[in-house]
Symmetry: C2
């Protein structure tokens, strides 16, 4: 067991790799465990899954996976192994519907965005491939300037990009036709995404500009999984190298779900009500409570 927990610790401490890699490693670790310890008492699974959830508590797909592993485990190790293997392949599942629907939403539009969404990027690439013109208005994305990196990427793809500070993007909403960005998680209450999303949604509503999040439904978190989800406070020196300052450095904020026009997903464009209904339909293992208790214990 020690070995598996140590690998989770490594995943938690990693600052070099992206979400996709970390997710994959966490799944591989669970898969190794299930293969080797398939006959163990189910109770042994709880600490492993709890540590997995805790390692990347802002990674909604991983929290969903934890739930699905708990459910599969009720049907035995083989079922769990199948699920994990499927989940490794899952990354390549077709997002054809998402791309088609997303293109309809974005075609010919000036797009206001923040940070980076790989899902949005796929739709934009598809538009370019069809010879459509794309225009982007984006902010720089302090503290780590993720927006500048995305802006450069777009520019290198031949897209017309306008860049501004994070305080000014709101004033450019009226020059755009649509606000489009990603999602880190969607809960029954809110869209969790790069900070700045919440005020951007309010401005979009105030200006009558539609506001879409681009995401697969693996980021939908049913209510019972929300307690496992955490927005982390990051290294304050990313903001300012001054040890005598009280600095808050959350990367995400929370946008009330009724502020968004819709979510472009692999199941089509969904309204806030659609999203809430879908979240309500997700089966949640009663053992999630045990994971919660494990995480709460000192």
């Amino acid at each position: 067991m020690e070995k598996f927990l140590k690998r989770i610790e490594e995943i938690a401490a990693d600052r070099k790799h992206g979400a996709r890699e970390l997710y994959r490693w966490a799944v591989e670790n669970l898969l190794d465990w299930v293969k080797k310890r398939g006959q163990s008492h189910p109770q042994e699974l709880i600490p492993l899954l709890a540590e997995t959830a805790k390692a990347q508590p802002s990674m909604a797909p991983l929290l969903n996976l934890v739930n699905r592993v708990l459910l599969a485990w009720e049907e035995g190790p083989q079922k769990t192994q199948d699920l994990l293997e499927e989940s490794l392949k899952g990354e390549e599942t077709s997002t054809a519907t998402l791309v088609e629907e997303g293109m309809k939403v974005l075609k010919g539009k000036r797009i206001v965005t923040l940070s980076r969404s790989s899902t949005l990027l796929e739709v934009i690439k598809a538009l370019l491939n069809r010879g459509e013109k794309v225009e982007i208005l984006i902010s720089e994305g302090r503290p780590l300037m993720g927006g500048v990196a995305t802006a450069r990427l777009f520019r290198d793809m031949g897209i017309e990009v306008t860049l501004c500070t994070d305080g000014l993007i709101f004033s450019l909403v009226q020059e755009g036709d649509v606000v489009a960005l990603g999602a880190d998680a969607i809960t029954p209450q809110s869209l969790v995404n790069r900070c700045g999303t919440y005020p951007l949604a309010l401005v979009a509503r105030d200006r009558g500009v539609p506001f879409y999040t681009f995401t697969d439904t693996g980021k939908l978190l049913p209510q019972e999984l929300v307690p496992l989800f955490k927005i982390e406070d990051h290294d304050p020196t990313e903001v300012l190298k001054d040890p005598h300052f009280n600095i808050v450095n959350y990367y995400f904020d929370e946008t009330p779900l009724d502020c968004i026009t819709g979510a472009v997903t692999e199941r089509g464009v969904l309204t806030p009500e659609d999203l809430q209904r879908l979240m309500g339909e997700i089966k949640v293992s009663p053992r999630v409570k045990e994971i919660e208790k494990y995480l709460e214990s000192p």
Copy 2:
């Protein structure tokens, strides 16, 4: 005349001095002109005032001064000279009411703010002098980090300061009790202030947190002066040193006046309606139209 226009050019080009100094120099320049050219044809005044307005088109008190000089000129050079001399002294006018009213609004509150307002600063100093505890939540203020400078100033005054990025300040509104900031200008439509103010006002309204601008009424711009007012696009390399990027770098945004709770002024706390009424009562010289035409001509 050349000499006076040249001095205005210097004021326009100055990047080293603050608004207060630039204002003073512009007034002194007009005063010198009036003293030396008191007997000239009034028509000569138009280019001088137009160039003065153009030199600092985001400086509302200067635009108001231009209007008052036009009005005074109708009553002769002596009246104009009196006005300008008074205006130089005006900076020291008592702001006792503003400070008293402001203290009532801020006392015991966690204050969310942006950038720097010398008016707000006076109220906060008065609170500290009375032994009140002050807490500030402020964002860094890209591109020039004016918020960080203000945060350091507050900290050195012994105030408890929390600092965050410009995209995160909105998420801290719910931890504050009041949003308080300055004004660069107030028009019948909107509060013009550091960019980020508009979404901050929307978030404050969404969260039920009161939102006050701290300003003297010299920043109220009646409708007829609004055409002289300009929000300038600043040097893009302040945002990013990349010549191949389309960068927008306005310092200010516009908040619809009905989004604000009130303005703390030397005439007390004023509602949006009070402000609009006051702007409507300001007498405007018909010659403002001539200045507008002068500025529009190529």
